[in-house]
Amino acid sequence: MPYQLIWLIFFLPVISFAIISLFIRPLVKAESKVAGYITITALFGCLGLSIWTLVTVMGSPHHELDVPQISWIVINGFPFNVGIMVDSLTAVMLVVVSTVSLMVQIYSQGYMHGDPGYHRYYAWMSLFTASMLGLVMASSLLFAFIFWEMVGLCSYLLIGFWFHKPSAADAAKKAFIVTRLGDFGFMAGILLLYKTTGTLDIAELHHLAITGALAGTTLTWAAIGIFAGAAGKSAQFPLHVWLPDAMEGPTPVSALIHAATMVAAGVFLVARTLPLFVNSIEAMTTVAIIGGFTAIFAASMGLVMTDIKRVIAYSTISQLGYMMLGLGAAGLGLIHQGHITLEAAKAAAAIGIFHLFNHAFFKALLFLGAGSVNHATGTFDMRLMGGLRKVMPWTYATFLIGSLSLAGIWPLAGFWSKDEILISAMENQPFLFVLVMITVFMTAFYIFRVVFMTFAGEYRGGSPEAHDAHPHESPLVMVAPMVVLAILAVVAGLWNVTGHFGAFMGHGETKGFVEGFFGIFTHGLPWISLVLAGSGILLAYAMYSARWISPERIGAMFKPFYTLFFRKYWFDELYENVFVKTALLKGLFAGFEVIDRDGVDGAVNGVANTAVATGRTIRRAQTGQLQLYGLIMGIGIVVIVLAIYYLA
């Protein structure tokens, strides 16, 4: 098949979007499921093509395909090229995005059924998928940025999907504004790069960075700018506040955008531009530290949330922190080694991306599980759930698999990728390593808190206004994607058991399967992390299922912490009250006012009085008659021309 077919991966969802929004929405009743079928068909095509791309990339010499570019516009001889960049990173991302997207769309057929905005939902989902695919394929930072913003737009639209709910509309705005903050950084980075190098082609930038043509402070700032964008999208501290609120959107949206794809776009972006980062130790360190800190920081908040989706959302932030840490740590490791080649720089992304790969599956699974639970109970509040294990066996089983994977239990997917990050962190950032080890414990605890609160014990009634007092299993169309994702959550990690993933990304040696599968335990680290995770699970069991320990007691005991976590470190308040109200309005502006009033005014008043007196006389000239001004301008021109001729 010709490489041009790869374009189709992007265009299939675009076409689906166009068909739905142009024809289906105006023409077809909202009850019809046509839109869903169209989207799913398009995504099937995408998935097939993505897998084909992956296979082709695997088979090609440098794990890279040469797809010809198209010149879009030429300004001053500088061509803006439209092109796609297909290397191993892209191929992996394509598969992730299209798989999760497909699963989510299938799931949505059940979840969104009967919603009046059904067609709108699918139109935007298609658009989102298209933009995301475009983002991962873009060969130029300019187009990456365009798709980046389109992804953000879709996220905004989809979070605010139920725009009649004020909370959803607010959350959408919040997400949009907060991520824009990061995007300013991204844009600044792009502009800085363009100004310095005159190109935005990623491959060229890589080349320039590796050869040292692009280095020093410029590179650092550009990299940090890009990272700021990534941090905004990936909800890294301190721009993480939007993601939990974004759970106001439909759950499949959360699963697709806020767990598997869009938030991972930040990680992807850093991975994509990693050759830039590895040439700046400051930037790399920033990535690592922010990532590591975010991991534990978000996990701590996840401990106490009662809303099932918010727990998973914080978990997502935490896991994204892991990925950032993985990228940062690997990059730092590379820097410590000294010699940096392009291949090595690209390969350094493998660890982070592998976690992204696994995380996408199990986190989407968890979200879909949460959605399924919501479907049954009509609420997201875990305190109103319980005992769903019996009535929703499939949901329970898949959710449990997802949880185990998230907690990093051998041999599920999460274990493998997390373990590599831990190893990498241990080698490069011992301090962060300690933090993330704690996070491992926390992760296991909070996710199993969810599992036990939701599925164990007795049913606590569900939503007060629930239509149905008896929760039931979700329909097949919702369960099937969850099962598929559960299988992937189990097996996805096996790719790198043998080191093949790393090799595919360009680094490391491969080993035998058995050797990798069991040989991992020759190190001490897996043991420790498993023990920590196990103890977290145990503690959760003790508190929320067996009730050996009363959670309330613990809560009271750690009251300050509990409050701190529960109020999310007062971050929302911080932004609202401290930054906006206090710092800006009271502090900065008030300070200016004082300086202005006492210092400047005093000096100025004298001058001003003179000026006022002068102005009073002169202002007669300003009649507000535009024509008079024009006349004077005309006189001016005449005078100037005369002067020029006189002088010349």
Binding site: R619, Q622, G624, Q625, Q627, G630, G634
Partner: protein, 103 residues
């Protein structure tokens, strides 16, 4: 006497000057807009004349004239819309009575 570049330029200048006078000396906003169109036309003549006599094969002047026409169209649309808006609000389009920008 055959026609040379100067002829066109002088013609353009005359038209421009008439437009200038109209734009400065008229009360009606619509007449002022018409005068501005005159000035733009004068510029176009000059452009095309330059193009014809100085770089006949490049057609640069014609290209610019096209852009000027675009600008003129936009200007007419927005200008007349503003005039209409003012007229609706203040029942007049006499520029001497419209002096909100005073002081």
């Amino acid at each position: 006497m055959s026609i040379a570049l100067e002829h066109y330029l002088i013609l353009a200048t005359v038209l421009f000057s008439i437009g200038l006078y109209g734009a400065l000396a008229k009360r009606s906003a619509i007449v002022i807009l018409m005068s501005i169109e005159l000035m733009l036309n004068a510029v176009n003549i000059a452009m095309i004349a330059f193009s014809r006599y100085i770089v006949p094969l490049m057609l640069t002047g014609q290209v610019f004239a096209i852009f000027i026409i675009v600008v003129a169209a936009a200007e007419a649309a927005v200008g007349l819309a503003i005039t209409m808006a003012i007229y609706r609000r203040r029942e007049t389009i006499d520029t001497t009575e419209i002096n909100l920008m005073k002081w």
